[in-house]
């Protein structure tokens, strides 16, 4: 009687599993990997200095967090990320929009952007260090420089993607240049700009840790784990990586996904 159709293409997915089951399902792979790690660490194959068991890493993480060392490193990293990204967003969006609106600006700037973009950001690092000296300035400047490329590129594409028919109809309805910009061009290009910002922030995050290692900044997670190498403190490195992962996950969950939702929703509106 209650035999349900095996109409795989019509019947929708079975009712979503309970939140508890889902949590268990997500935790399971970590339990497996953690167990393997523990087994290897306790087997004595490697010296504990190089391959500390998870409880040591957890203890180090707790100790460094309590003493305020880890929060200080994390805070400096986050401040650099925000500063660099904010600069990139400001200049990137402006340059991109100008390129999209003015043929002259496009002709002038596009070659420079196309030459600069394929060079990996970190390759500029020594140059920046040489020109600006070690410290915060080259780190922030490089983060800004590198993450500006996707922002410029996407803003430019976005403005170019604004349909002529919208511009014409707005003009026909008497919109002047300023209104055209505010009410047609910016909203029309927004999905692309948001995508650019998302890519830019992800790029900034990926190279920031590397720059911190190279730029010899006094605080920062990259420097923390790089410095720990000198003293063979593997537990400190892994604790640092855990914090890096947490920040990265938070960015993913609270920033990238939000931005993506925004874009997807906008896309739906536009197409």
């Amino acid at each position: 009687m209650h035999d349900v159709a095996r109409a795989s293409d019509i019947a929708l997915t079975p009712a979503a599993a309970g939140p508890l089951r889902r949590a268990a399902r997500n935790a399971f792979p970590f339990v497996v990997v953690g167990a393997i790690w523990e087994a290897v660490a306790h087997a004595g194959l490697f010296p504990p200095r190089f391959f500390p068991p998870l409880e040591t890493v957890a203890a180090t993480l707790a100790r460094l967090t309590m003493s305020g060392v880890l929060p200080h490193h994390a805070l400096d990293t986050i401040v650099r990320l925000i500063a660099g990204f904010a600069l990139a967003a400001l200049f990137g969006v402006t340059i991109g929009i100008v390129m999209g609106r003015s043929r002259r600006a496009e002709d002038i700037l596009l070659p420079l952007v196309s030459i600069g973009a394929p060079i990996p950001g970190l390759a500029y690092a020594p140059l920046f260090l040489l020109w600006f000296g070690p410290g915060n300035v080259p780190a922030v400047a490089l983060v800004a420089f590198v993450s500006a490329f996707p922002i410029i590129y996407n803003s430019w594409t976005g403005v170019k993607a604004v349909k002529d028919i919208w511009l014409r109809s707005a003009q026909a309805m008497g919109a002047n240049d300023r209104r055209l910009f505010r009410h047609v061009i910016v909203p029309g290009a927004l999905p692309y700009i948001v995508t650019g910002l998302r890519l830019g922030l992800a790029q900034a995050w990926r190279i920031l840790v590397g720059i911190e290692m190279l730029a010899a900044v006094p605080w920062g997670l990259g420097w923390l784990i790089f410095g720990a190498q000198e003293f063979l403190n593997t537990d400190v490195m892994l604790a640092g990586i855990v914090v890096i992962a947490l920040i990265g996950l938070a960015l993913e969950k609270f920033v990238f996904q939000r931005l993506e939702e925004l874009t997807v929703v906008r896309w739906g509106m536009l197409t």
């Binding site: 349900v4 159709a5 109409a7 293409d9 019509i10 019947a11």
Partner: protein, 253 residues
């Protein structure tokens, strides 16, 4: 023995809102080389019925028998043409698409390409053998799909509104072409449509379905000589009758 027999087919959709009856007690039988059209308003389950015959969906109750054998899953005794132009593989040329079924059968390359080319000739596309689907118009893509479904020589051709997304002029051409193809190949064809004129033009017999849940309302045999003249009085009479059968039903609800 009938070539295809549907015995008391029922299907219940399992939706988030609960079980919804899709088809109830659908039965019909058809002879070999017969052209059967299934017409009905959208949502009457006619496409679902075709998918059951194709073996993509298993009904809750009842069974389909083809040449006396119950249907279990899809099989090479049936060729299927869908409405969606996207059914062709975009990474294969027209010829590559048509040859796919033969390739699955293990037919050697030269032989299957020769057969595929023959099938393309049947639908008048032999000059487009090397074209990729995205270079072909919608009507041409559907013709390739028909050639593809015929290429491995199934006894049955199942067609799910294959011309519904085409413009009216192209559709007329395609119907004429399909009637020719059928006369040449003598396949047993089940053709789902909501277009009454199309059904009268193509079918030996029309099964009329009603929705909620989908059931067979009646069957109409089209006793017109072929090729049929869509402007003849008899043609229009059949059309009116089918429209009446469908329309009455709508008023009845």
């Amino acid at each position: 023995m009938p070539h295809i027999e549907a015995r008391d087919i029922s299907l219940i959709y399992d939706t988030p809102g609960g079980a919804v009856p899709g088809l109830r007690g659908v039965s019909f039988a058809m002879e070999a080389s017969e052209f059967l059209c299934i017409v009905g308003p959208s949502g009457c389950g006619k496409s679902t019925l075709l998918n059951i015959i194709a073996g993509f969906i298993t009904p809750n109750v009842g069974e389909i028998r083809i040449a006396g054998q119950p249907v279990r899953g899809s099989g090479m005794d049936r060729g299927v043409v869908f409405q969606d132009f996207a059914q062709l593989f975009p990474w294969r040329t027209a010829l590559g698409n048509v040859a796919f079924g033969l390739e699955m059968k293990g037919v050697p390359k030269a032989e299957r390409e020769a057969t595929a080319l023959e099938q393309l000739r049947l639908v008048k596309l032999e000059h487009f053998a090397k074209s990729y689907p995205h270079h072909l118009s919608g009507g041409m893509q559907q013709r390739v799909a028909i050639a593809r479904a015929l290429a491995y020589n199934p006894a049955v051709l199942l067609m799910d509104e294959p011309f519904a997304a085409l413009d009216a002029l192209t559709r007329d051409d395609m119907q004429r072409l399909l009637a020719d193809v059928w006369r040449t190949t003598r396949k047993t064809v089940i053709y789902v449509t909501h277009n009454v004129a199309e059904a009268v033009y193509l079918a030996d017999r029309v099964v009329v379905m009603t929705p909620h849940p989908g059931t067979v309302k009646t069957e109409v045999t089209i006793k017109l000589p072929r090729p049929r003249d869509p402007l003849s009085v008899e043609f229009l009479d059949y059309q009116k009758e089918l429209l009446r059968l469908l329309g009455q039903d709508a008023k009845g609800h």
